[in-house]
């Protein structure tokens, strides 16, 4: 039955090459923890991706309750935390995922760095990876404001003050992010929400796609 459905679709859209390009590749011995336990260091990239998927899914569910205006943002998070079934767990996953993803990214970066895996021909992929790191930090930064509690508000205040100190572009950057040269308020919250939920995820998905396509093209780096 399933085979017939598959064949029916495949005859019309030719899907086999699509998933075979993704699924059909080798895993060399030196990256396989089943053969060399020390190869667990190769797991950090995959775990980063896994936590990113957790972040995307839990984030999507959080937006079902979250309200991004300063009157209701905190209340909506409080409601989510105390009243909504499993809301505390979903928010907990998103909260801890944000930290775990940074840790995993850090470990993955160190693995690639100390193995010299960024050398020719993988220079571009390294650079894309560093950009992913920056985007992830940006996601952490913007997401931190969204609950609109004291911690969030004052952390953003600090960050924007640091940004303001940058010569030439500092004040413009602050005004762009905060929506006002002086006030951290309603505009800031909506902008951070838009950046957190639309702009940066779009950039992240594009960069991740490039990252993965390049890995597939170049293959994983050889043993040291």
């Amino acid at each position: 039955m399933l085979q017939k459905i598959y064949d029916w679709v495949d005859e019309r859209v030719d899907i086999t090459p699509l998933w075979r390009d993704i699924a059909d590749h080798e895993v060399p011995e030196h990256v396989n923890p089943a053969h060399h336990f020390s190869a667990f260091v190769y797991c950090f990239g995959g775990l980063t991706f896994f936590v990113t998927v957790i972040q995307v899914l839990s984030g999507m569910f959080l937006t079902m309750y979250y309200v991004h205006d300063i009157e209701n943002a905190w209340r909506s998070v409080y409601y989510l935390q105390t009243e909504v079934a499993h809301g505390q767990i979903v928010r907990g996953m998103h909260h801890w995922g944000a930290s775990v993803v940074i840790v995993m990214l850090f470990l993955h970066t160190l693995r690639v760095f100390f193995q010299g895996a960024y050398k020719k021909p993988r220079e571009l992929n390294w650079m894309v990876g560093v950009l992913i790191f920056f985007v992830m930090l940006g996601l952490g930064l913007t997401g931190y404001l969204l609950p609109w509690d004291n911690k969030a508000y004052f952390a953003t205040q600090v960050t924007l003050e640091i940004a303001e100190g940058v010569p030439f572009v500092g004040e413009a950057t602050k005004a762009l992010l905060a929506g006002d040269p002086n006030i951290v308020g309603a505009q800031t919250l909506t902008r951070f929400f838009a950046i957190h939920v639309f702009f940066l995820p779009a950039a992240l998905f594009a960069l991740m796609a490039i990252h993965f396509i390049m890995i597939r093209k170049q293959g994983i780096s050889g043993p040291l």
Partner: protein, 255 residues
């Protein structure tokens, strides 16, 4: 892709009508114990992922995401701190010899710029860390500095006290019915310690307590914990009305 004459297509589309069966590639010719990703290795990854997910969920359940009180820009006593992964930068900027331009632009710019351009700075053929001492030692220096600065920033804060002082407090939305027959008894015997809206002053809040009317009657007479006995002074009927009043406010708060 197959090319040449004699190809058949599905309808007028460009999809080939000749279907080959999917035969996984044979990796036995590859060096070492190469394994196929699909499905062999993916199954193992899946299992590791499941274990990781269980651990992660335990973390999320055991330590719920913190939430402090709603943002109050007028709170001048609040100690502002960034999220933990920016603490190193925050700490670096706190030192007197670090100006904003130096600490927010030049040093992080060089550090992260070098990280971004690492493949072009470290151009040798060698990959082993000890064969490229400059790259390795600079990275180690960077890691140690970031860890040290983060530790310095985090050690200066009493996190438990900070969390304790900034607990989320939902605004009370109970309306006190002063016409309730039990209110007069509450006003006489309880209000001075438990507050005009049962919010608690010297004594704890009476909203959200898990006692039946009979238990409240007992507590009013016998006391509980730090509350001394004999606080209530009145008839049995008034005592009953008092307990009903406290229960009714609790029921209202739960709606």
């Amino acid at each position: 892709m197959k090319k040449g004459k004699g190809m058949k297509f599905v309808g007028d589309s460009r999809i080939s009508a000749d279907k080959e069966r999917f035969i996984p590639k044979d990796y036995s010719e590859y060096p070492g114990k190469t394994e196929a990703f699909w499905p062999n290795f993916l199954l193992k990854e899946w299992l590791v992922g499941a274990v990781f997910l269980v651990g992660f969920l335990c973390l999320a359940v055991a330590h719920p995401a913190p939430l402090e009180g709603p943002a109050d820009p007028t709170d001048a006593s609040y100690l502002p701190l960034p999220d933990w992964y920016f603490l190193f930068l925050y700490q670096f900027l706190k030192y007197d010899f670090v100006t904003t331009v130096y600490g927010a632009v030049i040093v992080p710019g060089i550090a992260f710029g070098a990280l971004f351009l690492a493949p072009f700075l470290d151009r040798g053929k060698e990959r082993r860390p000890h064969k490229r001492p400059i790259a390795t030692s600079l990275m180690l220096l960077g890691i140690i500095s970031v860890f040290w600065l983060t530790y310095e920033a985090a050690a200066a804060v009493d996190w438990e006290e900070k969390a304790e002082e900034n607990k989320p407090e939902p605004t009370s939305e109970v309306e006190i019915d002063t016409e309730h027959p039990g209110y007069a008894a509450y006003e006489n015997s309880c209000l001075s310690c438990h507050g005009g809206e049962l919010e608690g002053t010297a004594g704890p809040s009476l909203i959200g307590i898990d006692y039946s009317a009979e238990e409240i009657e007992e507590i009013a007479i016998d006391g509980i914990g730090d509350m001394p006995p004999g606080q209530f002074d009145g008839t049995d009927e008034e005592l009953q009305q008092l307990a009903e009043f406290i229960v009714s406010v609790n029921e209202q708060a739960e709606d």
